[in-house]
């Protein structure tokens, strides 16, 4: 039964993808044998070295959005999409400047632990846990979308119950099940090792095909230049004449360009700022390009705020800072993470740029069959002249894509499962449970969370991967970022102030992006409303620009109104957050705290 099913699948692509999955699983099992205690399970025993930890954070952070989504979005939207990789990388700077050091000195297993410790409030822990789950589920959806897209690409030619190509949801379910199982068995220690390995795999998988492609088909700059109308006057005439003999165009630099389909953005719009991504709403409202520009500027700023602040508030990334031996190591780790992911992010836009010139037929489809798969499919064009190298390189990028959504999904799963097992079960439902019971619960929670995430992933085929991640970041930016930033630097914060700001900011962002998603998926009809109010559409699609200030000002106002409730030992808490770790204030604080 199997041979005919797999006959239509390229053996290179299949083999390289499967090897990645297999290596991930084997490493997970191998590490599982080594993690015995509950502490091992949750934060990997806290003794991970800078190099390992930086690779692991980068491996966890470089998700399907970075690996596939950025390239796809650069291809479909041009310049504006570059804000994503840049802010994904730059957001780390904010994390380093304001949050990484103090948080690490304070020391706790999870962000809910920090929330409770800083405010002495178990209720606040519950609110924090809810947001771990909200942000987590939002962030797993694009990962699952990447999984569905990749498997649909690999098995695009098989016949399956009378239809050609693997349905998107099958890929989601298969990958979801495999990763869930892996996490349920391995815990986080396995994940640290696996994710460090996966960073290097991803960097290899994105860079090598780029080098081969640009050495054979012209450099990054030349491919961009071919899109400048003045540089290639031939395009305009040929493009308007569909009866031309050769469907491809040779630009003066020798860059080959296939004909752009009608659905593709024009060269000028694609190459310059304020293009299709940021002007979608005003253009839908029939505003002229000139009138659209202020809207596009607003959109750009909101996007920047969401991505930069959102990085600093991602729960699954923050938890990693506790795995460093000390605060200096935490800072060094952040530095290395920025270098590792910065190097990586130079490459995906190259795929988008070259893909626009050489594989424009992707513009004809959306979602999992559109530009989001350019990273996977573009190397295959080398097969025309250099078979089987195209297939091998495409197999490599598929392997990288598997590494991308597997590592990020695992990381999210660990952090969400940790919140459920450690916080909800271990602290709220059954505080008297033994470590062994919690370990068992961790496994069940992993299966529950993985199942829900997989289910959600099945619904979002039509949405762009990168776009969804931007929304998850907006929610994190409006909830966790204000909480962490304000609690670390302002001693006047009270529990009520923190809770009010975080809840209102985070829920506003959540409702706003959910509205846009529901209307884009066609579940509710808001199109006429968006056309009448393009400004509101932008503010809902990218809510960070109003949600983040809203959250912060609520925190300040409510805290001032409830000034009497500032924790009594706030000076000690602030000392623990800011004094050098060598002074040993943390131990003293813990001793005092357990004393009363």
């Amino acid at each position: 039964m199997l041979p005919p099913l797999f006959a239509a699948v390229d053996p290179w692509i299949l083999a390289l993808s499967m090897v990645t999955v297999a290596v991930t699983l084997v490493m997970g099992y191998w590490a599982a044998g080594k993690s015995r205690t509950a502490s091992d399970f949750f934060v990997a025993g806290r003794g991970v070295s800078v190099g390992w930890n930086a690779s692991a954070i980068s491996g966890e952070y470089l998700s399907a959005a970075s690996f596939m989504g950025v390239a796809g979005m650069v291809m479909s939207s041009g310049y504006d999409a570059l804000w994503y990789p840049v802010c994904y990388a730059c957001g780390y700077l904010f994390l380093l400047l304001f949050i990484a050091g103090p948080l690490r000195r304070f020391g706790a297993y999870t962000i809910p632990d920090f929330a409770e410790g800083r405010f002495d409030s178990p209720i606040f822990r519950k609110i924090a846990v809810i947001f771990v789950l909200f942000i987590g589920f939002f962030y797993t959806m694009p990962q699952m979308n990447g999984a569905g897209t990749a498997l649909a690409y690999i098995f695009k030619d098989i016949s399956w119950f009378g239809q050609t190509g693997l349905p998107y949801w099958v890929g989601v379910v298969v990958v979801g099940a495999v990763i869930t199982l892996n996490v349920a068995i391995g815990g986080m220690k396995g994940i640290t090792l696996v994710q460090a390995f996966q960073y290097w795999l991803k960097l290899f998988a994105i860079s090598v095909p780029v080098f081969v492609l640009i050495s054979l088909h012209g450099g990054y700059g030349k491919h961009l230049e071919a899109n400048r109308p003045a540089a290639t006057p031939a395009i305009a005439t040929t493009a308007t004449n569909p009866a031309a003999q050769d469907p491809a165009i040779q630009s003066p630099d020798g860059i080959r360009r296939e004909l752009l389909p009608a659905k593709a953005p024009t060269d000028d719009v694609w190459l310059n700022p304020f293009g299709p991504l940021t002007t979608k709403a005003p253009r839908a409202a029939n505003l002229s390009p000139e009138q659209s520009r202020p809207y596009a500027l607003l959109y750009t700023y909101s996007l920047i705020i969401a991505l930069v602040c959102g990085t600093a508030g991602l729960p699954h990334i923050l938890v990693r800072f506790y795995t460093n031996p000390d605060g200096v190591a935490a800072k060094r780790t952040t530095m290395w993470v920025m270098i590792l992911i910065g190097v990586f992010y130079v490459f995906p836009p190259v795929f988008g740029t070259v893909g626009r010139n050489l594989l424009p037929e992707l513009y004809n489809a959306t979602g999992s069959r559109g530009p989001d798969k350019v990273v996977l499919e573009l190397p295959l064009i080398l097969n025309r002249a250099h078979a089987p190298w195209g297939a091998i390189l495409s197999g490599i990028t598929c392997a990288g894509a598997f590494a991308a959504f597997m590592s990020t999904f695992s990381g999210l799963l660990v952090s969400m499962t940790g919140a459920l097992a450690h916080d909800v079960y271990g602290r709220m439902l059954r505080p008297q449970s033994t470590p062994n019971e919690r370990m068992r619960m961790f496994k069940w929670c992993a299966i529950l969370v993985g199942g829900v995430a997989t289910l959600l992933g099945c619904f979002v085929e039509k949405l762009q991967i990168n776009f969804m991640v931007g929304q998850a970041f907006a929610i994190a930016a409006a909830s966790y970022f204000p909480l962490l930033f304000m609690s670390v630097w302002w001693r006047g914060m009270t529990t009520r102030g923190a809770a009010a700001g975080m809840l209102v900011g985070g829920l506003c962002a959540l409702v706003a992006v959910t509205l846009t998603n529901f209307s884009d998926l066609g579940w509710i009809d808001l199109k006429p409303f968006w056309i009448a109010h393009p400004l509101l559409r932008i503010l809902c699609e990218q809510p960070a620009i109003w949600c983040v200030p809203l959250a912060i000002s609520l925190m300040v106002l409510v805290s001032l109104a409830t000034r009497a409730q500032v924790p009594a030992d706030i000076r000690m808490k602030m000392l623990v957050l800011h004094a050098p770790e060598t002074l040993g204030l943390k131990q003293e604080y813990v001793r005092d705290h357990d004393g009363h």
Binding site: L93, K222, N272, Y301, V328, H578, A579
Partner: protein
């Protein structure tokens, strides 16, 4: 051995030490953040008000594409590197200060 719950009265636990600590750390972070943000937030404005200059070709790239897609990353590394060096140095000095005061008292 301090009584649990009470705040000890030596220099490390004083308001003076904490206020100085927080002020110096915050100043360093804000300086670095401001230099980073002024560049990041200026770019959309430049794109908006000077599109011709930003679109000028540099090695095939439109200038603004080169800035955002390639050159921004090393810039952020530089700021991060400066911050980390300064902040580790700051922490070392704070610890020294606290220790010297402690031994004075003892």
């Amino acid at each position: 051995m301090p009584v649990p719950g009470s705040t000890p009265t030596d220099f490390i636990h004083s308001e003076e030490f904490l206020a100085g600590l927080q002020r110096r750390q915050f100043r360093l972070s804000v300086t670095c953040a401001a230099s980073f943000l002024s560049l990041l937030l200026a770019l959309p404005l430049l794109n908006y008000f000077a599109p011709e200059i930003m679109a000028r070709p540099v090695a095939g790239f439109p200038f603004t594409w080169l800035l955002l897609g390639v050159l921004f990353f090393p810039l952020v590394w530089l700021i991060a590197w400066i911050f980390i060096r300064r902040s580790i140095e700051l922490e070392r000095r704070e610890a020294e200060l606290a220790r010297s005061k402690r031994s004075n008292v003892a």
